[in-house]
């Protein structure tokens, strides 16, 4: 019988190995897509695309999206959504801006903006986790309200003329690299660490995997979901503050497509995990795909409208490529 027991085990291992390469190709579809894009643009413009200046550019351009995508990742790990991250970041930028223009010292203005973002996260989290409102409606509604508040804070205009020390946060450089890139790296590493190595991160994944199982294992599901929204609020606010510093201005809608792209990045990233769950590394690959695409198409001088068409198609292609794996089942 020992023989019988052994046989399948061995072959199991072998099989596992054999199919791993192919599986990796599919599972890594998103990564493959990123590499393919980089190669393509490099071949089109070998002189420019991978030069230091342009790589720095790309990193600079995606840094704030990366921060907001990290926030979105936390919420999506728990199996929820936060459509308000973009609006939230704009409001934080506007709050800091309005306070600074009113004479508040920079650190206090920044702190206040972070608090505002955190409170909005708390509001979302309370609605979703405690009042059981679907995350989609709750955050859609709070997005609507938050944009309205931003309009009120900015008086509908674009605020500017911030203290240079504030702008330096978004425009300054250290060793030739713009500061927002460092911020993005720190936020990404911190999020990665939290997701992977802390008990709260574990609990997020457990709740995202199955609410009931988590609850019966002693996880305080409501609090855990709440915390994800709260932190996402804080982190989005940080992104918005940096965006205001980076642009030297703040308006109610300057987050642009960050929310949409953040969601797209997380989805792109989910395909690289075996469990199909949101994960930080995947999200950052998704962010890079979006960033490389925008930069590369600009460098090739592609018409803005056609760029938009292509961006949508490439996102679909990347996700579909990885999706082939799940279709196999």
């Amino acid at each position: 019988m020992t023989n019988n027991d052994k046989a399948p085990t061995t072959s199991t291992v072998v099989m596992g190995h054999a199919s791993n390469a192919g599986k990796w190709m599919l599972q890594g579809g998103t990564l493959v897509a990123l590499i393919a894009l980089i190669l393509f643009f490099f071949l089109m413009r070998p002189d420019v695309f991978l030069g230091f200046t342009n790589v720095r550019n790309i990193l600079y351009q995606v840094s704030i999206l990366a921060i907001i995508a990290a926030a979105q990742t936390m919420v999506m790990v728990v199996g929820d959504f936060d459509l308000s991250v973009g609006a939230n970041s704009s409001l934080a930028g506007a709050t800091a801006a309005a306070l600074m223009l009113g004479g508040t010292p920079i650190p206090i203005a920044i702190l206040a903006a972070l608090v505002v973002g955190t409170l909005i996260g708390l509001f979302n989290g309370y609605l979703v986790a405690y009042l059981k409102v679907s995350a989609f409606v709750a955050t859609l509604a709070s997005m609507t309200s938050v944009i309205g508040i931003s309009y009120l804070v900015t008086g509908g205009t674009t605020l500017f003329n911030f203290p240079p020390e504030f702008n330096a946060l978004g425009q300054g450089r250290l060793f030739e690299i713009p500061l927002p890139v460092y911020f993005a790296v720190v936020v990404a590493l911190a999020t990665w660490f939290v997701l992977r190595y802390t008990t709260i991160g574990r609990r997020w994944y457990a709740v995202g995997g199955n609410h009931e199982v988590s609850r019966l294992s002693g996880v305080n599901v409501r609090r855990v979901r709440l915390i994800a929204f709260v932190l996402a609020g804080t982190v989005s606010a940080l992104g918005g503050i940096l965006l205001a510093a980076r642009l030297g201005s703040a308006s109610a809608t300057q987050d642009g497509n960050n929310m949409m792209f953040a969601v797209a990045a997380v989805f792109l990233g989910m395909t690289i995990a075996r469990s199909g769950a949101a994960n930080l590394v995947g999200t950052m690959i998704g962010v890079m795909i979006i960033g490389v695409l925008a930069n590369g198409l600009n460098i090739l001088g592609v018409n803005a409208y056609i760029q938009q068409v292509i961006t949508g198609l490439i996102i679909v292609a990347a996700v579909t490529l990885s999706g082939l794996r799940s279709r196999e089942r």
Binding site: N161, N167, L247, N298
Partner: protein, 305 residues
């Protein structure tokens, strides 16, 4: 196209211009992009044109990196200086002058030249038309529809509201009515006026709107409610001119963008040739009132190209 610049054929270094506009989805923005590209071709400039649909987060970095790759001048098309602080910093750091068309409503050191239209003149002309049509503004109920995020519209709608109140008119709704998203400006203005008229039938004598797209929505609401209120806009788009000819809109404003653009480009050429910067950094240009009498002769602003 910058693709062919690697093997420079001529002896002279070409004049390198980074041009950008955040309003490429507006007809005028689209015209400006084509116009500047055409003139650059003629002048032999090496042009980098960057367009963004009011997404400064995407546009600003692109402009800054273009500046970083070397430029002799920057050309701002229709983008308020408030939104491009980081571009201004980048250009200043690189010691590159910024020329601008319609980019902010007051003088600023950020630009070596910004030519725009005379907002007070626009307000005077449109309110004059309303005054004439109504036989006096005093005591009349007039709605002002604006859009704060756009500095030009914001300035002129504030001026219009102030002038109306000063002239003894009543601001319908008590304050300037705001359109939230330019994309749905027409629908929003339509609803604003329709709802106001539902609540106050016969309560509206005129609607002053800061730009034609929304004015067309307002005019549609006025027609549908059977109100006799007069509607004015600004921009002189073809549709507004047609509406004026059809009698559903009272007036609009033609802003002479082609000649303004020529003027800005002329001072850029001047700078290219002699290194001299314009003497004044802010100029305003007068506009033309478009009404029934001259509508047929006006080139619509969205058919400039």
């Amino acid at each position: 196209d910058s693709g062919g610049s690697t093997d420079g054929g001529g002896g002279d270094e070409p004049f390198r211009v980074v041009a950008f506009t955040s309003g490429n989805q507006t007809p005028i923005g689209a015209w400006w992009v084509k116009e500047v590209e055409a003139q650059a071709e003629e002048l032999g400039w090496e042009l980098t044109m960057i367009q963004g649909d009011f997404d400064f987060q995407k546009m600003n970095p692109a402009v800054e990196s273009a500046i970083g790759q070397g430029a002799d001048a920057v050309f701002d098309g229709y983008t308020d200086y408030a939104s491009i602080g980081s571009i201004i910093t980048a250009a200043n750091d690189a010691d590159i002058p910024i020329f601008a068309i319609d980019s902010g409503t007051e003088a600023t050191d950020a630009f070596v030249l910004n030519i725009t239209t005379n907002q007070q003149g626009i307000v005077d002309q449109t309110l004059g038309a309303i005054d004439e049509a109504l036989g006096g503004i005093e005591g009349k109920n007039i709605m002002v529809i604006g859009h704060d995020p756009h500095p030009g519209i914001r300035m002129r709608s504030n001026l219009a509201a102030d002038d109306l109140v000063a002239a003894g008119a009543v601001l319908a709704g008590g304050e300037i009515q705001q359109v939230k998203s330019p994309a749905s400006g027409r629908t929003e203005a339509l609803a604003l006026v329709a709802d106001y008229l539902a609540a106050n039938p016969d309560g509206l004598d005129a609607v002053w709107v800061g730009w034609d797209d929304a004015a067309l929505g307002a005019s549609q609401a006025v027609q549908e409610a059977g109100s006799s209120a007069f509607v004015t806009g600004v921009d002189a788009v073809a549709e507004a001119i047609a509406a004026i000819e059809a009698g559903t809109m009272l007036a609009t404003i033609e802003q002479p963008w082609p000649s303004i653009n020529d003027d800005v480009i002329a001072s850029m050429v001047e700078y290219q040739n002699s290194g001299t910067l314009p003497s004044s950094n802010f100029e305003t240009v007068d506009t033309t009132l478009v009404n029934e009498s001259n509508a047929a002769d006006i080139t619509p602003s969205d058919q400039l190209g």
